[in-house]
């Protein structure tokens, strides 16, 4: 974990002082964002532990099994972030075509017999005991790929805004993995990717017509999907249960109903970590992943659950500052894409726990258990940090 600066040089103290010297990378990192993400990780770890410690069918004899795996995932995620900062987003820009190609290949692999189905979503790759969700990586590579295309001529000073041709290319680039993800089907990820595309187009300065056109297509597409029966029954049922939670409270509406009861019963201060009866009674499904916010709501109350929203707000607010603070359009677009991603995914995840959004299988960034998603969000943080670190000194 040692080296933000060039390492292998002098004793530890010197390294540290260099690390925090004026204009050093560490000094220029966005610390509020970093601390907020670390705080979210700590809270998430506690919640994962609370949700899994007595679930012997998951953890066996070791109540810490999930916690340890979760901590390992965070560690790897932080490592990936450091690597990303160290490489720098500009360096990565050159590798974008390769990264994009690899991620699309992995997504395609899901459609082969290598893919596995978890919770109705055929979105996983089983690589010898290691489960990967390639669509999480695709979120990153769509952002990077689109940003590369859209910013190329603007950053070169050729144009003020990306031209139609470029926009079309960028949309095509995004469309391929989105289509594949839809085939899985992993509707949650498709929605996030659509939001990423929207955020990216917004920040790229593409003409208003594209933005409006995209919104219109999105609406028409949603309608078409609904009408043409592309969705599986369980997905339609989830939406129906969202529209009317009283519908079949022991069936489809059960999850949303129990989630709301869990959060509501937490009150202001919650029942205390490990004491939530809804949590320990396992009334809410997927408590360590998609519905982890219900554990926060029940056991930590309004203060704890509100803190999670606040910390996510800090991350997003700092990300917005980074997006506005950089001079290159490339960095701005990447930051905006990440903002759209995090904001929508967090809103969808917490919103479904609170009963204001339909149920879709999406993890809560930094908090939910799940390796691939943890790696992806830390890489995104690395990208944001890199954009901030590498901005011109005058800013």
């Amino acid at each position: 974990m040692g080296g933000f600066s060039v390492s292998g040089y002098g004793p530890e103290r010197t390294t540290m002082s260099k690390l925090f010297a004026r204009d050093s990378i560490a000094r220029r990192l966005d610390w509020p964002m970093l601390l907020a993400t670390l705080a979210l990780s700590v809270i998430g770890s506690a919640l994962v532990y609370s949700a899994t410690r007595n679930r012997t069918e998951l953890v066996g004899d070791d109540p810490y099994a999930y916690l340890l795996k979760h901590l390992l995932n965070i560690g790897i995620g932080i490592g990936l972030m450091i690597g990303t900062v160290w490489l720098g987003h500009r360096t990565l820009r050159t590798a974008v075509p390769i990264l994009y190609g690899v991620s699309v290949f992995l997504v395609l692999l899901v459609l082969t017999p290598l893919g596995t189905t978890i919770n109705g979503a055929h979105a996983w790759l089983d690589l010898g005991g290691l489960s990967l969700q390639p669509s999480e990586f695709v979120k990153v590579t769509i952002i990077l790929g689109m940003a590369m295309l859209l910013a190329a001529r603007v950053d070169a000073g050729d144009r003020e805004h990306p031209d139609h041709r470029t926009v079309m290319q960028a949309l095509g680039l995004a469309a391929v993995p989105i289509m594949i993800t839809m085939l899985m089907p992993d509707l949650g990820s498709v929605m996030v990717m659509a939001m990423i595309v929207l955020g990216v187009l917004l920040a790229s300065g593409a003409s208003n017509r594209w933005i409006l056109g995209l919104l219109g297509t999105g609406a028409a597409g949603a309608l078409a999907i609904w009408q043409l029966g592309v969705l599986d029954d369980y997905q339609i049922a989830r939406f129906a249960a969202f529209a009317n939670p009283a519908l079949d409270p022991s069936g489809v509406g059960y999850n949303t109903n129990q989630a709301r009861i869990a959060i509501g019963s937490g009150g202001l201060t919650g029942s205390g970590l490990g004491n939530g009866s809804q949590t320990t009674g396992q009334f809410v499904p997927e408590q360590q992943t998609d519905f982890i916010f219900t554990v926060a709501g029940e056991e930590l109350g309004f203060l704890g659950a509100g803190l999670i929203i606040l910390l996510l707000g800090v991350v997003l607010w700092r990300a917005c500052r980074i997006a506005r603070g950089t001079t290159e359009l490339y960095g701005t677009i990447v930051a905006a894409g990440i903002i759209a991603w995090f904001a929508f995914q967090a809103f969808e995840n917490i919103g479904m726990c609170l009963g204001i959004m339909p149920v879709a299988g999406l993890p809560l960034p930094f908090v939910s258990y799940g390796g691939t998603s943890m790696f992806a969000v830390w890489i995104a943080i690395g990208l944001l940090q890199s954009i901030r670190v590498q901005r011109p000194m005058s800013a």
């Binding site: 709301r260 019963s265 009150g267 396992q282 009334f283 309004f302 509100g306 997006a323 919103g351």
Partner: protein, 726 residues
């Protein structure tokens, strides 16, 4: 880079980024707001829901308290029986709605499949009994008389009997000590209904699904005290119903015991003698109708004169209250509610009303004194009294010359009262009543407590009726349409009456007043009302609310809450009049219409007072009434379509007194044989373990010697035609 500003972006991008930031902020605010709404604003509601979610309550029903007689003999207690129950929810899950299981069960229990199926069907408007009127989620008892062998069969072959349980359960038992049923007074239980659960939800004694509720009699009046509190053990369970921990354990609190003033032995005598009297009456020939007396119903009340406490209360026809235990069968229910059985569920002591006949005369006597007539004045007692061509005859058309009011009571002279009532009617304005009409005869009846409930601690008491001016008006308004339609000026008797009623039924006519004055016409009273009045004559004038419940004693015997006698009025007479009436009623027992029933009675030791009554009922045989009292007790008996007061009811009342005081036919007292020579004043002792030191009940052996009536006849002491004198 010429067009690009120093920040590296165009204003368009800047604006778009600000829009993005605002969007993000509003999303987060939405989440925060919704979170506040769920957790802070509606948090309590969800907390309740979460509790309901993961808490499973296991209910242990409380053992119902016993109903005891005055000395501690249980009239109603509990026994452990093997109850076989079916869970409807389980049965309904099966393809054939559990039919196969129920058929197998019927075979094991030796019942027909239909009987079993009927027991588990739910009651509704179209479904006759038997049916289940409790909660469909509660196990429904099929039988509470399973043998251990049957229970074992069901348990061992559990896979053949899904949803069927066989458990030892405490069930109600009506012990009938010494064969005293006390049916209507005790009442019965049946499962609680959904409406009752809803209704009592927020009270301090909510019902449980498995509760049995008192439906009538003492079981209903003292239901809250008897019921106790069910034990609840709450377990926290997970989604799959696995118990995680026990969160609450409230042990069941057994119900309190209700000590009554009923004496089981006297009750037995009263029930037996009432029944015997009715049987005897059915052997008597009624000259008026040309057939034997039907004696289709009857009641007797034995009351402590000085407190209004009920020593025994019997009503015929009666029934075995155990028929209700464990769910009543269809046959039994039909039997208990059919016209053929003459409604044995009715407690005729408080729910049977009839014209009182001459036992009413203490009221017009008091009314006359209050209206200014001298008690010891002389009043003509001719054989008949006529008003405008209408002749009102004395009973048996006997005349007695000029007599006092006391003698009028003794010989039960109707014409004395006819004349007094007629005079008062005229004074009040006759057919054109004055506004200041005194209505002495009616006012006095109200003051005696007639036309209203006595307030006895038994449910559904009826009020009877004082047919005063207001009642006449109300009754006419309610019935005039029917009368006017049916009435014919020159039709048969009923049509002529209807015609007359249509024209002037709202008026108090001379004939109405005259008929009323001897307790006839539209006057209606209940046996309990007359017992209250005669007890007041015995105790110096206090009208007590009759009570059956005497005390509530906690199951461990430590807390006792006495139910004190409560008065609802005083007789409207001064001490002098009171004494004179007492003397006259003693005269009835020694010289008057009841004398032939009290031959050999030790009047000097136990002064007896009595009044006989034979009320005429249009279209039916006469109602026999007999009202009596000593210093300590008051007994009122009535038999519908039973004949005369002294004739039909006399011997039975005498025998009840004999048994209580330990008298033989000659009037010799043997206190060892006496069941209750003095009212029971102390309460039974209940030990801390709930056991009671119960005295032994001697079965009643009725006096097999010749009944005193016939002895008197044989001795030639009885006047002519004794059966018809009232």
């Amino acid at each position: 880079m010429t067009n690009i500003p120093e920040t590296g972006r165009t204003p368009r991008v800047q604006i778009r980024l600000i829009i993005l930031q605002i969007l993000v902020l509003s999303l987060l605010l939405t989440l925060g707001g919704r979170l506040w709404y769920l957790q802070v604003r509606n948090g309590d509601e969800y907390a309740d829901e979460a509790n309901g979610n993961h808490v499973q309550r296991v209910v242990q029903p409380a053992v119902r308290g016993s109903i005891l007689d005055a000395r501690g003999v249980p009239l109603a207690d509990n026994e452990t029986r093997l109850v076989v129950s079916a869970s409807r929810t389980e049965l309904m899950k099966m393809k054939d709605d559990g039919e196969a299981v129920l058929t197998r069960l019927a075979e094991v229990l030796g019942m027909t499949p239909k009987d079993v199926a009927d027991k588990v069907r739910l009651c509704n408007a179209e479904t006759p009994q038997p049916c289940w009127n409790g909660s469909p989620y509660q196990p429904i008892p099929i039988t509470d008389e399973a043998t251990p062998k049957q229970a074992l069969q069901i348990r061992e072959r559990a896979e053949d009997f899904p949803g069927i349980t066989a458990e030892p359960t405490a069930v109600r038992r009506y012990t009938a000590p010494g064969s005293a049923r006390t049916s209507q007074v005790l009442g019965y239980l049946s499962p609680v209904t959904d409406e009752e659960i809803q209704g009592a939800k927020d009270t301090d004694s909510p019902y449980l699904r498995s509760d049995q509720v008192g439906r009538s009699g003492l079981e209903r009046t003292y239901d809250k005290q008897l019921r106790g509190k069910a034990g609840v053990t709450a377990y926290e369970v997970d989604k799959l119903g696995r118990v995680m921990r026990q969160t609450q354990a409230e042990p069941a609190q057994p119900g309190a015991n209700v000590v009554t003033s009923i004496d089981a032995q006297v009750q037995r005598v009263a029930e037996y003698e009432l029944n015997e009297a009715m049987k005897a009456a059915r052997k008597e020939f009624d000259d008026n109708t040309g057939m034997n007396y039907k004696a289709d119903s009857g009641a007797v009340v034995v009351m402590e004169s000085k407190t209004g406490r009920i020593v025994s209360m019997a009503s015929q026809p009666d029934y075995d209250p155990n028929a209700w235990v464990g769910g009543i069968s269809g046959k039994d229910y039909t039997k208990l509610t059919s016209k053929k059985s003459n409604y044995p569920l009715l407690n005729r002591a408080i729910q049977g009303q009839a014209a009182p006949g001459s036992i009413f005369k203490v009221i017009p006597t008091t009314a006359a004194v209050n209206a200014g007539y001298e008690f010891n004045g002389r009043y003509p007692c001719p054989s008949s009294y006529s008003i405008g061509g209408q002749v009102f005859k004395n009973f048996e058309s006997q005349g007695h010359g000029s007599i006092t009011l006391g003698q009028a009571l003794e010989v039960s002279c109707d014409t004395v009262y006819y004349s007094l009532a007629h005079q008062q009617w005229q004074k009040d304005g006759g057919n054109k009543p004055r506004k200041s009409a005194k209505d002495w005869f009616y006012k006095t009846a109200h003051q005696f407590g007639l036309g209203q409930e006595t307030g006895i601690d038994l449910p559904n008491e009826v009020t009877g009726r004082v047919p005063d001016r207001q009642w006449k008006k109300d009754y006419w308004a309610a019935n005039k349409d029917a009368w006017c339609k049916q009435g014919k000026k020159s039709g048969d008797y009923a049509e002529r009456i209807a015609y007359e009623n249509c024209l002037e039924g709202m008026k108090m006519r001379a004939g109405d007043s005259v008929n009323y004055s001897i307790g006839q016409g539209d006057t209606l009273v209940t046996p309990i009302q007359m017992a209250t009045i005669y007890a007041a004559l015995s105790n110096g004038g206090t009208l007590y609310d009759p009570t059956v419940g005497k005390a509530i004693i906690s199951p461990d015997g430590k807390r006792t809450e006495e139910i004190k006698p409560k008065a609802h009025g005083k007789l409207p007479m001064n001490a002098k009049t009171h004494d004179l009436i007492n003397d006259a009623l003693a005269g009835v027992a020694t010289r008057g219409t009841a004398a032939w029933r009290f031959g050999g009675w030790p009047q000097d030791k136990i002064p007896m007072h009595a009044k006989t009554g034979t009320a005429e009922v249009y279209g039916k045989q006469t109602t026999s009434w007999f009202a009596t009292y000593t210093k300590d007790y008051t007994i009122v008996m009535t038999i519908a379509q039973g004949g005369t007061g002294s004739g039909a009811s006399g011997p039975a009342v005498r025998k009840i007194y004999d048994a209580m005081y330990g008298l033989d036919a000659e009037g010799n007292q043997d206190l060892k044989k006496a069941l209750l020579p003095k009212p029971q004043s102390s309460l039974p002792k209940i030990e801390t373990d709930g056991s009671i030191d119960v005295p032994k009940i001697k079965p009643y052996e009725p006096n097999k010697e010749k009944p005193p009536a016939q002895q008197e006849l044989a001795a030639g002491l009885a006047p002519v035609n004794p059966g018809r004198r009232d």
